[in-house]
């Protein structure tokens, strides 16, 4: 069976898909047996530590590592001189694009340090204490430069310049002077001027959001072992071991086949583990020291030097007619990319209005470099920032027009066939179904207490497919071992894959044991990003299962001496095709497998795909808040997330994704922010001062799963992990507006800001 990109959706009766079995990785996790990045060790290993820049922006005049290298116990010291410079070369890493020229500089500073925490050198020593002592002996001579942290400040002509050779891409003619504006993108459709002219009402607003961290519980950790014959092994906590392998090979100028990456159990990633940080340093240290080298980040390093998401500034303008039709929409998004270009402004620009069927749209995206860590993807990269602005403006417009917020969205809703402003027409989507499910939910109609407010907002995300492989080995006893190449980022995709395979083979779920293969056991797999895990990974597993079934049928045809067409696969058995003249005694999977050796050898199924046809996902969120008018603090009282996921293979884990996304969105809306001091030093690099919401800060988050099957997946899967973080920011802001009559344009909505606004509104009211 040859399948180029995948299989189509077929509605059928299902036994396993849609149930809620326990995940295969569950017991090891709750008993503490699961091995995460920091749990892997090798005999004779050294501990690697990184010396990081204490300055936000400085030129490196010299680095003297001699005293560190001379310290007893230190086995290797590396700095920029140990790595080749890289030319500009772009590659995909998750939903964002990377440039190797920048990746090598982010991994280890070359000419300049560009943010507090930027790696400058690394050591490997026989103990962590010695490694730390060695770091103190490295002398770096810096010329401190003025720095810039804020995205709008970075765009001013007199702003300190991060990259002297950076001329804005995407503007014509090429600018005469370099600037911090790395790239300007534009997406346009129709005639916005005419559209605004046709509008009865216009809403125009500006919004800002702060950078927030993915906040995964497990800090980055890896172990590398480089052997004398030039091969390297790497264990690391990653969302994409094949992509890490490719990047390490490039940065270390090695052949891909000489690196084997084994992914460990991952304690969360959310996009933050799409990028290499310590991995090439660990391999380089191992190469130099001839010993395995383990590197585990501290939480502080995670905050200072691994990707947060962008802080953003968004201008939105909407025009609509009296009867609620949006006639034109424009937005300009400026995103902090951090020290190197490549923020999520492109996907954010594409998502900004793609919930609506619009004739006239223009979106401009600015990618701006500032002296902060290079941003990384974070769940639907950029989309929450764009949606905070657009969904707030939509809410304001609905109110102005006197149309209920869900009705207003329904009037303008995107549907199958809607032409997007960034290219394709939308295929089969479930936005309208999602809005209708939200409208029908009891929460939407529940009475509100005095001073409480309810808000609605929606989100859209593309979801993606890409390269995916899987191998399914039928064992001698009729069980199956599934080797998959897409990382289970702890969302439970191993369970979902095993369920689809069990469904296909017609055997119980626990007879399929899923494993994540290392990079040498399967062909290339793209990162688990873009909500592709269960969509693309599932496709590969189904294709592999069907490939195995075909071989099983063929085996039975030969054993029973019947033509292949006479053999059907049903409920775990090869059975004679109905009405076929060639009847035979059915054979179970175990029977076939037991004789496999004698009948032609082991049986396995394979899939090597570039999966296409991802189904976009839509979510609609309803939230009730209460604002304490004396302190300005906001409490979330009730939350309902409605989302079209195509098909929930394992509904409990889908609900978990929805709830998790909402929680992170609540943190983004209310609490989380990076606090920098006047020198550009991060002042809250720890979970005590960087405040993510914890369980007791939250109400139970109710979920409603809408299932509008994706036609391009055998079980209708769309992907679900990213959409739920998009709507909360605006939904909460809209709820606060309904509670107080005051709209917030800046996140987070921290109590001082809220109280000040309440006091100002009261003062203005008493004057009037």
């Amino acid at each position: 069976m040859i399948v180029a990109s995948g299989l189509k959706y077929q509605a059928r009766e299902l036994k396993i898909v849609g149930t809620r079995p326990l995940r295969p990785d569950g017991v090891d996790k709750v008993t503490g047996r699961a091995r995460y990045g920091a749990d892997i060790s090798l005999p004779g290993q050294l501990i690697g530590k990184v010396l990081r820049s204490p300055h936000a922006h400085a030129r490196i005049k010299s680095i003297d590592t001699s005293a560190a290298a001379a310290l007893p116990g230190v086995k290797a010291v590396i700095s920029r001189d140990d790595f080749a410079d890289m030319a500009e070369e772009y590659a995909a890493a998750g939903e964002l694009t990377i440039n190797f020229r920048d990746v090598t500089r982010n991994m280890m500073a070359r000419e300049k340090v560009l943010y507090d925490g930027h790696p400058v050198a690394a050591v490997a020593a026989t103990s962590e204490a010695i490694a730390r002592a060695a770091l103190k002996l490295i002398k770096v001579d810096y010329e401190i430069l003025p720095h810039v942290i804020d995205v709008i400040a970075a765009l001013r002509p007199d702003a300190p310049l991060l990259h002297e050779e950076q001329y804005t891409e995407g503007v014509n003619p090429r600018p005469a002077r370099p600037s911090n504006l790395a790239k300007r993108l534009e997406f346009a459709r129709g005639n916005v001027e005419a559209g605004f002219a046709a509008a009865d009402t216009i809403v125009e607003r500006e919004f800002t959001t702060k950078p927030v961290h993915q906040g995964y519980i497990e800090p980055q950790a890896c172990l590398a072992s480089y052997s004398e014959d030039g091969q390297a092994e790497l264990w690391t906590s990653t969302q994409g071991h094949f992509v890490f392998r490719a990047q390490c090979a490039k940065l270390l100028q090695m052949e891909i086949s000489k690196i084997r990456v084994t992914p460990t159990e991952i304690g969360g990633g959310f996009g933050g583990k799409n990028n290499i940080y310590n991995e090439p340093l660990a391999i380089a240290l191992s190469r130099k020291s001839h010993r395995p080298v383990k590197m585990v980040m501290t939480r502080e390093e995670v905050f200072r030097a691994t990707g947060p998401t962008s802080g953003g500034h968004v201008k939105v303008r909407l025009g609509a007619t009296r009867d609620g039709r949006i006639t034109a929409a424009t937005a300009e998004l400026s995103f902090q990319a951090g020290a190197f270009p490549g923020s999520s402004v492109a996907p954010a620009s594409m998502c900004a209005f793609t919930r609506y069927d619009l004739e006239n749209v223009r979106v401009i995206g600015n990618d701006v470099t500032v002296n902060r860590p290079k941003v990384a993807a974070y769940r639907a990269p950029g989309a929450p920032i764009a949606a905070f602005a657009v969904e707030s403006a939509i809410d304001e417009m609905a109110k102005k027009l006197g149309i209920a917020p869900i009705e207003f969205r329904l009037i303008n809703a995107a549907r199958e066939g809607t032409q997007t402003y960034y290219g394709p027409k939308l295929g089969k989507i479930g936005y309208i179904e999602t809005l209708e499910a939200a409208r029908a939910h009891p929460h939407y109609r529940a009475p509100l207490g005095p001073g409480h407010g309810r808000g609605i907002a929606t989100g859209f995300w593309f979801n993606i497919g890409n390269e995916t492989t899987a191998a399914l080995n039928i064992n001698e006893d009729g069980t199956a071992t599934l080797i998959m190449g897409t990382i289970d980022v702890a969302g439970g995709s191993r369970a979902a894959m095993a369920m689809m395979v069990a469904e296909e083979l017609g055997i119980p779920f626990d007879r399929v044991r899923p494993h994540i293969g290392d990079t040498s056991s399967l062909g290339f797999n793209f990162i688990t990003a873009g909500s592709r895990g269960t969509f693309a990974g599932g496709m590969a597993c189904v294709v592999a299962a069907r490939d195995a079934i075909e071989k099983l049928r063929d085996r039975v045809a030969r054993i029973r001496e019947v033509p292949l067409e006479a053999v059907l696969w049903k409920d775990g058995h090869a059975v004679p095709a109905e009405g076929s003249a060639r009847q035979f005694a059915p054979m179970s999977l175990a029977e076939i497998a037991g004789q496999a050796g004698k009948t032609g050898g082991p049986i396995a199924g394979h899939a090597e795909l570039n999966v296409q046809g991802a189904g976009p996902g839509f979510g609609a969120h309803i939230v009730d808040v209460e604002v304490d008018r004396q302190t300005g603090s906001i409490k979330i009282l009730r939350y309902t997330a409605v989302q079209d996921v195509g098909r929930a293979i394992h509904p409990a884990y889908v609900e978990g994704q929805l709830q998790g996304g909402v929680v992170q969105g609540i943190g983004w809306a209310l609490n989380e922010e990076y606090v920098y001091d006047a020198d550009g030093i991060l002042a809250n690099p720890g979970f005590l001062d960087y405040r993510i919401p914890v369980a007791s800060d939250l109400p139970f988050i109710d979920t409603v799963i809408v299932e509008v099957a994706n036609p391009n997946h055998p079980y209708g899967v769309r992907g679900c992990g990213e959409v739920p973080i998009i709507a909360p920011l605006a939904a909460i802001a809209n709820a606060v507006e309904n509670a107080l009559g005051i709209r917030f344009y800046d996140l987070p909505m921290a109590p001082p800001k809220v109280l000040q606004a309440i006091d100002e509104a009261a003062a203005a009211a008493s004057k009037a």
């Binding site: 990081r52 204490p54 300055h55 507090d116 962590e128 204490a129 585990v296 501290t298 502080e300 209460e626 304490d628 004396q630 302190t631 300005g632 603090s633 409490k635 609490n671 606090v675 001091d677 020198d679 030093i681 002042a683 809250n684 690099p685 005590l688 001062d689 405040r691 919401p693 914890v694 369980a695 007791s696 800060d697 921290a750 109590p751 001082p752 800001k753 109280l755 000040q756």
Partner: protein
Amino acid sequence: MMRLPWFKYCAPKSVAEAAHILAAEGRDAMLIAGGTDLLPNMKRRQQTPATLVSLREVPGLKDVVNGRGLTLGAGLTLNQVVNLPAVKDAYLALHQAAGQVASPHLRNMGTLGGNLCLDTRCLYYNQNEDWRRAIDFCMKCEGETCWVATSSKRCMAVSSTDTAPALIALGANVRLVSAAGEREIAVNDLYQNDGAEYLTRQPDEILTAVSLPDLAGWKSTYWKLRRRGSFDFPILGVAAAVRTAPDGTVLDARIVLGAVSSRPILTEAGGLLQGGKLSDEAIAAAGKKATSAAKPLDNTDLDLYWRKDVVSAFVGYALREIRGDDMSATRLRIMRQL
């Protein structure tokens, strides 16, 4: 992961032995009880004692003596304090304050004595060594300048203990024992307004017990403000204790603020209430008076003007609760505690 520096560990078996070690080792030695404050500080090299003197095996530090008033051993964990019916019945503010310290795990380790001696906090101080070196060390630890107020002659780090304001409002004393002798002082006198030298306790003194007076006729409460209701250090604590006559006239009142200065502040707002009823006007006046005593600085979470602004609302919540208003909904919303 951050690691502890090297240290010598002693586990004395009596208060006298512990006092003897402290006397011999001088300022290089520090007491350790639950370690929930000291050990993180040591990992960040804010405090680097050469010797740790553990109180874990010292008998008597967990004693509870219920006579006229109540005496609590300094070694009781916060959860043990929370779970004592005698505390909940007669000293509600202490029960509420202890119950809001940190998280359940930390309350299982952290002690009452450790909470009273808790190091002061500041955004420029509660950072690891490299961070502090990068901006240059501040006055509280190894440096010369205060980064919060560069012209300040003293450190302004914030007193962040939850139980101290409650115990001051309740009129409690502490017993301090050293090799040279012992003394009992009011909890209010345990503190001084200096972020670096925040205790009047001498380095060789061991806080062994907290004694609470008989408070028949008093009502008390503790209100804590923090960003998250789940766990965070206070950015404001308001403890109030009031004794009223049967007709509602206030005979005695103490209102104490935490986390808005380098020491807990016994405000003059209590005096303002004496002789009158807890009317809305009186409560508002007390709130205003208390606000003028609060001196928050830009060295902890959230905007400092806001932290001062909300003092009067919190004093109002506390006094209305004592008056008998049903504040349970507000209390639950802000503090997850009834």
